[in-house]
């Protein structure tokens, strides 16, 4: 998506490579973007419309025959922007060890698996 500074409207500069990921639809502050399914294999007349809030997304699915379905799904369990990199897990490994940042706590194990500590056959 690109903003046309003359018209102050955003547009899809290359629809030929559109994945229909809907990210532009979901983020548009005025819900001004609609998607019509790919012309070369999708029959006309249906629509799928999201309304994304900070913790859930609501979908309205309109069938070609007029049937309407609505679905609502959670999208995250924490407030937007609040993701703490270590997730509250402690890190005390060193740069030369096989323990990654937050490990072994974030694994829920006393140590990181290794061939030498656990033995190959019983891994």
């Amino acid at each position: 998506m690109l903003l046309d500074k003359d018209t102050q409207k955003a547009y899809n500069r290359d629809p030929s490579m559109c994945w229909e990921c809907y990210n532009c639809v979901k983020i548009c502050p005025t819900q001004a973007i609609q998607v019509r399914g790919y012309a070369d294999f999708v029959p006309l007349g249906a629509s799928v419309t999201p309304l994304r809030s900070t913790d859930a997304i609501m979908w309205t699915v309109k069938f070609r025959n007029g049937t309407l379905k609505r679905f609502k799904f959670p999208i995250r369990t924490t407030p937007e922007g609040s993701a703490v990199p270590d997730g509250g897990f402690k890190s005390d490994g060193d740069l030369s060890s096989s323990e990654l940042f937050t490990e072994p706590a974030s694994l829920g194990l006393p140590e990181v698996f290794s061939l030498s500590t656990r033995g190959g056959a019983h891994a």
Partner: protein, 648 residues
């Protein structure tokens, strides 16, 4: 882009890409960089919140080993991956990801990703290794943690909408990367002590099934344009498994996921006559050595059985959604109210599966008036993809971790820093790393972390900025911008800027590449079949294409990106064709068939097929590397472990 500003950025670790592996790398690198007083720079060609293969979201996490609950062991995962890849996998790399991946999943949950839980608070499994999630914002959550880590720690900076063209080299050491902004009149020279390539796999190397407006509806996203493969090849890195493409069998045309249907809902797929190829063609599996006898049946063999039905004229193949949902709800048949409630719940789960990750499939269902509880839907084999993180295996040949080697593997698989390529200072993760399949989103994140920690170690041990010659930089910048100049010089020769005798636009260039690959290298049109003569013909045509890549033309910076994306695809294509030609057998029949060597040849070809293009001479070298186990194997010839396909 006349006289662009050339911006030079100096950093310690350079992370290229913004997807799952890059986000894992960012979180990890920030921690160790802060501890060691180093700087980290991440460059993404799009916007990190929604970039990479998880941009749309996902409905499942495909790799969770469950180590803390003792559900599976690291060895179990390695066995599963090796069998699915017909015996060809780097056990040390797969084990390394498997021992760390649960940590990434637990972090996702803390960051805010909703993972389904059962009444006892345990994760709900889709299959043995797969967890069900409400994953619409999966990437948003993971990118948020990455950004908070890089920017919050004060060690990092992030460049978005900057497209990376290729590597900068200082002799045999990677010295950084060169790229340009797709929004501003700027060329970037990134100088780094270590560089981590995580720029995804490749889509649109082969002609897609839909070639009109639906061309964008690739299974893997169309912005995965082979940039990792190009970057590593041009740096002179040894590559592995370049022949191991992936063919996903998905809901036809919109490519909706089938995992939930096969694993969670236990659906069957049947042909036009109502036959089930997984049962009727079971004897065919006997032809594929020990791999035909493992459970679950390797993905390529499942594909192959379905393809045989289609070749016999027994298509279409249908996913029996109506049968599966009715069967699950049947247990409530004596209680109409409970039955209705269950059907409603299943219907919602089925729609969420698409809405979370393949919205086009929901549109297609709605537009075709399909209600899955009433009507089945067609599935089909898609065009080939390069996706070393999934069920393909293409990528760079990497050094494995020291503590996961045996006396036998050490000399072949480990030469220093974990996840470093054969090029000094160049690290890889996700789709950029080869022979370590089935890492998917979570494992790519974990591998990004592994590679980043290792790269920081490399910087601490090699704490000097590689030299670059100004002359060389000027040459590279001119090369990067050449398509703009070619366009300006020639555009007035004709009445249509897309038709010109002196240049080729990136779109036509891509179509030319796709036609070669489709027809000669085993694409959809060729029914995934090829042979020596066809591959040699493909190489002839690719040589002309490579010459003509010098005449690519771009009207603006967006097209300039398209030019380079297609050069990247072309290099992935050449590595693929050369390696299929080199491996004189058929090992993954549902991915491609060599009609002249149609059988598995365990004696000769139970090896890795590797390649390298010499950056100085441009000459390709093909070589084999041995396959070793890091875990003890049963003495019998069968490496098979009898595993249930699904546990709940």
């Amino acid at each position: 882009m006349p006289n662009p500003e050339v911006v030079v950025v100096e950093t310690d670790l350079l992370i290229l890409g913004g997807g799952m592996a890059a986000c894992g790398a960012a979180v990890e690198a920030a921690h160790w960089a802060k501890q060691n007083g180093l700087r980290v720079t991440l460059v993404d060609k799009a916007a990190m919140d929604r970039s990479g293969a998880v941009a749309m979201g996902l409905s499942a996490i495909n790799q969770y080993v469950g180590l803390k609950d003792g559900a599976n062991s690291v060895k179990d995962y390695v066995d599963y991956v090796r069998n699915d890849l017909m015996g060809v996998t780097r056990e040390d790399l797969v084990a390394n990801i498997a021992r760390h991946v649960d940590s990434s999943v637990h972090l996702f949950e803390k960051w805010g990703l909703p993972i389904w839980k059962d009444a006892n608070g345990k994760y709900v499994h889709e299959g043995r290794w797969q967890l069900m999630i409400n994953g619409e914002s999966y990437k948003v959550v993971v990118a948020e943690a990455a950004k908070n880590a890089l920017l919050g720690s004060g060690v990092g900076q992030i460049f978005e909408r900057v497209f990376i063209v290729g590597p900068l080299m200082d002799g045999d050491r990677c010295a950084g990367a060169v790229g340009f902004s797709v929004r501003e009149n700027k060329v970037y020279i990134f100088r780094a002590k270590a560089t981590l390539a995580t720029m995804g796999g490749a889509v649109h190397v082969f002609k897609p099934r839909s070639s009109g407006e639906g061309m964008g509806r690739a299974w893997y996203p169309p912005w995965n344009s082979g940039s990792s493969a190009y970057f590593t090849l041009k740096a002179g890195a040894e590559m592995t498994c370049q022949e191991v493409r992936f063919i996903p069998v998905r809901f036809k045309d919109a490519y909706g996921p089938v995992g939930a249907w096969f694993l969670l809902f236990k659906s069957r797929a049947t042909n036009a006559m109502g036959g089930n190829y997984m049962e009727e063609r079971r004897p065919e599996l006997e032809k594929w050595g020990p791999y035909g006898r493992v459970k679950p049946v390797p993905a390529n063999l499942r594909n192959y059985l379905g393809m045989l039905d289609v070749l016999d004229g027994k298509g279409p193949i249908s996913m029996r959604t109506e049968e599966a949902l009715t069967k699950i709800a049947e247990q409530y048949k004596d209680d109409p109210k409970a039955y209705q409630k269950k059907i409603k719940e299943l219907e919602s789960e089925a729609w969420e599966d698409f809405l979370d990750m393949t919205i086009s499939q929901a549109i297609l269902w709605a537009a075709s008036d399909v209600q899955p509880e009433q009507k089945s839907s067609e599935i089909a084999a898609a065009e080939p993809y390069f996706i070393g993180s999934h069920s393909g295996a293409s990528g760079a040949w990497l050094s494995g971790p020291e503590d996961l080697q045996t006396a036998e593997t050490k000399s072949e698989y480990s030469w220093g820093y974990t996840n470093m390529s054969t090029v000094k200072g160049l690290f890889c993760a996700g789709d950029a790393s080869g022979a370590s399949s089935h890492k998917f989103s979570s494992g790519s994140h974990a591998e990004g972390r592994i590679a980043a920690k290792s790269a920081i170690k490399f910087v601490v041990d090699n704490n000097n900025l590689p030299a670059i010659q100004q002359e060389e930089v000027d040459k590279i910048v001119a090369e990067v911008l050449k398509p703009l100049e070619t366009f300006e010089q020639n555009r007035k020769l004709t009445t249509d800027e897309d038709v010109n005798p002196n240049y080729i636009k990136p779109r036509s260039f891509m179509f030319r590449l796709q036609k070669i690959m489709d027809e000669y290298a085993g694409g959809v049109t060729a029914q995934f079949s090829t042979n020596k003569a066809q591959l040699e013909r493909a190489l002839e045509l690719l040589a002309f294409l490579k010459e003509d890549s010098e005449k690519l033309a771009a009207a603006n910076t967006h097209e300039l990106m398209r030019c380079w994306e297609n050069v990247h695809r072309m290099w992935q294509a050449e590595a693929h064709v050369r390696t299929m030609l080199f491996r004189g057998e058929t090992r993954w029949p549902g991915y491609y068939m060599r009609s002249d060597t149609p059988q598995l040849d365990e004696e000769k070809w139970h090896v890795f097929a590797n390649c390298r293009c010499d950056p100085q001479t441009g000459k390709w070298e093909m070589l084999t590397r041995p396959i070793f186990h890091i875990f003890e194997q049963p003495k019998a010839e069968a490496p098979a472990t009898q595993q249930p396909a699904v546990t709940r």
